[in-house]
Symmetry: D2
Subunit: 362 residues, 4 copies
Amino acid sequence: MSSVWGRNLKISVFGESHSSAIGVIMDGLPAGIRIDMEKVNASMKRRMPKSADYSTARKEYDNVEILSGFFNGHTTGTPLACMIKNTDAHSHDYEDLRFKPRPSHADHTGYVKYDGFGDYRGGGHFSGRLTAPIVFAGSIAEQWLSEKGICIGAHIASIGEYADDDFTQDTTIQDFDSLPDKDLAVLNDMAGKKMMEAVSLAKAQGDSIGGVIECFATGVPAGLGDPFFDSAESVISQMMFSIPAVKGVEFGAGFSISKMRGSEANDAPLIKDGKIIYKTNRNGGILGGITNGMPLVFRVAVKPTASIAAEQDTVDIIKKENTTVTIKGRHDACIVPRAVEVVRCATALCLADLLLEDRKYD
Amino acid sequence: MSSVWGRNLKISVFGESHSSAIGVIMDGLPAGIRIDMEKVNASMKRRMPKSADYSTARKEYDNVEILSGFFNGHTTGTPLACMIKNTDAHSHDYEDLRFKPRPSHADHTGYVKYDGFGDYRGGGHFSGRLTAPIVFAGSIAEQWLSEKGICIGAHIASIGEYADDDFTQDTTIQDFDSLPDKDLAVLNDMAGKKMMEAVSLAKAQGDSIGGVIECFATGVPAGLGDPFFDSAESVISQMMFSIPAVKGVEFGAGFSISKMRGSEANDAPLIKDGKIIYKTNRNGGILGGITNGMPLVFRVAVKPTASIAAEQDTVDIIKKENTTVTIKGRHDACIVPRAVEVVRCATALCLADLLLEDRKYD
Amino acid sequence: MSSVWGRNLKISVFGESHSSAIGVIMDGLPAGIRIDMEKVNASMKRRMPKSADYSTARKEYDNVEILSGFFNGHTTGTPLACMIKNTDAHSHDYEDLRFKPRPSHADHTGYVKYDGFGDYRGGGHFSGRLTAPIVFAGSIAEQWLSEKGICIGAHIASIGEYADDDFTQDTTIQDFDSLPDKDLAVLNDMAGKKMMEAVSLAKAQGDSIGGVIECFATGVPAGLGDPFFDSAESVISQMMFSIPAVKGVEFGAGFSISKMRGSEANDAPLIKDGKIIYKTNRNGGILGGITNGMPLVFRVAVKPTASIAAEQDTVDIIKKENTTVTIKGRHDACIVPRAVEVVRCATALCLADLLLEDRKYD
Amino acid sequence: MSSVWGRNLKISVFGESHSSAIGVIMDGLPAGIRIDMEKVNASMKRRMPKSADYSTARKEYDNVEILSGFFNGHTTGTPLACMIKNTDAHSHDYEDLRFKPRPSHADHTGYVKYDGFGDYRGGGHFSGRLTAPIVFAGSIAEQWLSEKGICIGAHIASIGEYADDDFTQDTTIQDFDSLPDKDLAVLNDMAGKKMMEAVSLAKAQGDSIGGVIECFATGVPAGLGDPFFDSAESVISQMMFSIPAVKGVEFGAGFSISKMRGSEANDAPLIKDGKIIYKTNRNGGILGGITNGMPLVFRVAVKPTASIAAEQDTVDIIKKENTTVTIKGRHDACIVPRAVEVVRCATALCLADLLLEDRKYD
């Protein structure tokens, strides 16, 4: 297991879907950051489903208890620990599934990893529920980044075949202010309507659907990123691939840059108002693994929810024979809408870690 | 800087394009691995250009000197250090470029990062030359993996618009045995011919072109990968994004999984010959961040070579004014053919680190 | 801050003396360790004062809540988190002390470190209270070590001028079985009686007194320890100097070895019953930073309790002027008796981390 | 193996006594430190024996080659690598010793650790020769510390029964300026004379002798050190116990503080010239694991040289029978004089790492 992340800002997560609590310790936060708990709770709420059309029945957002590292409204510089109690667990639903791994879940691989001792209820430590502590921690980090002029936005780039408008160099962070509280975080509401229809259709058919989330950050100073091995892309991708269901990460033009000529792909520097900017941003704000002062832009591919209503083939791992499994309960037909805030907050953790490495920005 | 990578197998790289040497220390290698230096040298050679059609003039492969950690043909268990002397440097070529960052290179970002003290000659520490120590280290790691039954192959999935045949579940590692020593590591030689034409055309036009490399590994046991933060995808993507020019990484179906329904994307387990395998491999051999025993499959997007012959816009970072830059010397019109071995060897490092974490496979 | 420790078994502690809770996450514990909570609670209890003669008024031992990583009586392999609520806090006692650092405490240094934002109540994160999570974690680790045949004992080597009998090569772990539950963990009860008198006298005079704790472990296999930088001594000393009030650590003959001749200090190997043992153990079971199969023996020096009843000189850090401080409340006149279990459990963490590094003992 | 040390300034050492080279990579050094190679070479020279009275025959000091990370007289911010070739090796001397572990050396423990694959010649990776890269790296770090006003001194506190004068609060760094280049780094030359006699006597008797080194640093700002687990003591002790032959480390009054009353041991703060200092320095400049602005003071116990001329008992590890061993060649009768510079330079590494953690001192 490697539940500790980070070089300068260290994050230790714990918990299983049905353990008594989940949570996170943040180590390395500067002392004296003023924390607005309303903002933290707003982030926690955005991770919760907003519409019954794509998700399970609505419930109240997770209640975060801060256990340490927070005093008189500020961070103390010592570890900031938080806990979220698990209350809504229906553990008995999972007895049947114990030896029948659900396709595309971590049931089989986790069984091998932990020699059968893992907590199999609700996906255990691999549950999407573990993204709640990530959102909490990222939301704290975001408040520090905000003091430094760094803002992070994210939208649903696509669900199935339906794509939102592209983020452009003219897009400002203000365009994204209203996004997080929409049912779907899209720039183009017409595109959003089609996405929602695609999700509803999948849901009606007992199926699920995937999508892509695009994240960007403005105000990121040039100079962040620590090649050879902790390039800005390396740090961010490691974190993104920790989020359950992520199967691809690309920066700037990403995979499509592989079809470009150099003359098209190269971003040329330019003096504007006495500062160095770039004419284009095909590299997503990162050159040689180090930020160049342009907006950071990257996308993550999210696979369709693994849990679907239809009966599926599987095996009995004890009897070593083929069988089938039917997953009870209600599941999100698409997790992309909820994952937007996870990606955004996880990005805050990465940028905080990168920024702390460079003392010159203090 | 973060020139140290790894949790169990630690790699420390050093060197700049024009420093007196580059190299790597490997710490954590098990004692007693028999090392065949011919295989290591074969890997080093594959990173060198094989054809004048896409690359700079041919020169002899890098000569590796092992400094420590190797005794009587075996690893000793203590740090294995290697050095490759830099001999072919034309440092004076770079004086002109000192304050004129080459577009898409790390010149500007490195200047900011190191307050102007970085070694600007030939890309310094950001040079593709630093992939030579990665190939060396990966080649050593591969010999250990090979003892454990793990084999790693890689091919050029595409250059520009031209794609090689897909890797399929029927593809065996034997299909790839001959690849590394072809001019282009492709399964379909007709596709390879078109790729070469595309590169030649770009070269003739003073331009460059990108591509995609696909890597896979067979014999990987189920159970490798350490969520929450060191998922198999996290470990591999961090390493891949350390390789200069990589802008995207995707596993299994990758970005195209975002357009699938769950019923299509889910890989169902199956008993075959008393063992658990999977009917399909959309998840690229990784579920919940842990390997599932199927072949590991992932792709990396490589951007077109940043150095092109045409004059390009840039700035003078001291005078803070717009100017142009012309990059002298000969440069690869496409680095994808040479990067295949880098990706393959870097994957060996990742798998060795993941395998060492799990004592059960010893 | 660095509240994360360990390479293979990672420990993340959190909490302040007066925060809502303190606790620890253990990451890297093997799955399937059977945990006897009675043994854990017995360790927690031993850290509590046993006699009013040297300590504050008796209160019930800390109540540990396990939040995750524990299922059906076994570790799951995922992070094991525990929390201990803080209930007994008299925060108002500390307002007066806020800007008047108590001599020999971390008040002044913590103020500088955290720019005045630290939680100053009760020593905050520097409180001896933070040793409770260490005892919890160490007690869990000990149960795994015990499966591997490793036993750890500790006794009070001295308090003030009064010394216990020496641990010898004939001493067995059985000699120590009864120690932890004595008022003072000593081999020689007469020596213990004199120590207690010395403590009582110090207490009566409004003063405090220090001592030395000796720890040893049997069943430690040869081969543990990872030079160059993670020698067995390095790993253990780093942990020991994390325990508040420890000012010295020595292995085997320790400082007195500096007065020996080589002919006296050298431990000679010897075959006994077909196994390699050593005639003497001047090196405390460690040669070249690696265990040699002999009992591990080391001692830690514990300074007198910093809080004493007498008025002491100090400064006002805001007004920058000299003043005095009187510390209210009841404080242990000697923390050595309670620290014995902390040293013993902290040693279990070190040995577990060292053992996990070496796959050959699985 | 753990040949990588450090959190902010990372050091990777490599090499064996008889490998083709030894060396070190320094990662995390700020860019732009001006390096005076004469000072580096002076440090390297001080590690070499200065007098035939206590040591092997004099030879030229180690010749350091910088391979990377150094450009135009300054650090570049990228990894600074150095190599020292091994030239003087008489490998055949060691064949006889291969299966006969020398008492108090790492021969037996290293054999177990590396399953017999370790390089047994001259102590291999455990050789005192590996302290040469530490001196190199520390000497580089010292030049950066010096820019920040931090100075480090060290002297021989004792050899055998003979003690040098104590370091006092009135001692200044100037008192130590001349020390490193004396035959013995002592304040009191009469004491030094007695020490030398003790060494000569031991040598004449085919024996060896140990000692204690005291190190201190002035100009260390208050606020360095990162509890809970990276207290200033923890960081320094981990490093010191990496130095071969060190068996004890104590800070300030160290083990003797265990015999003090609190009223005696407590260091009281005091305003002097508007600044907070302390009346006494029993805690060696560290309170609660964080520096308090007073001089850092600690001592390390060094065991007598393990290699002595007399025949010693040992075992044959293959035949599993008792035998004897006679160590040929010339060996230092006392390594303390040479270890003074090692301790001093290793301390520079620790202080650089601690200082880099705290951005406030930039």
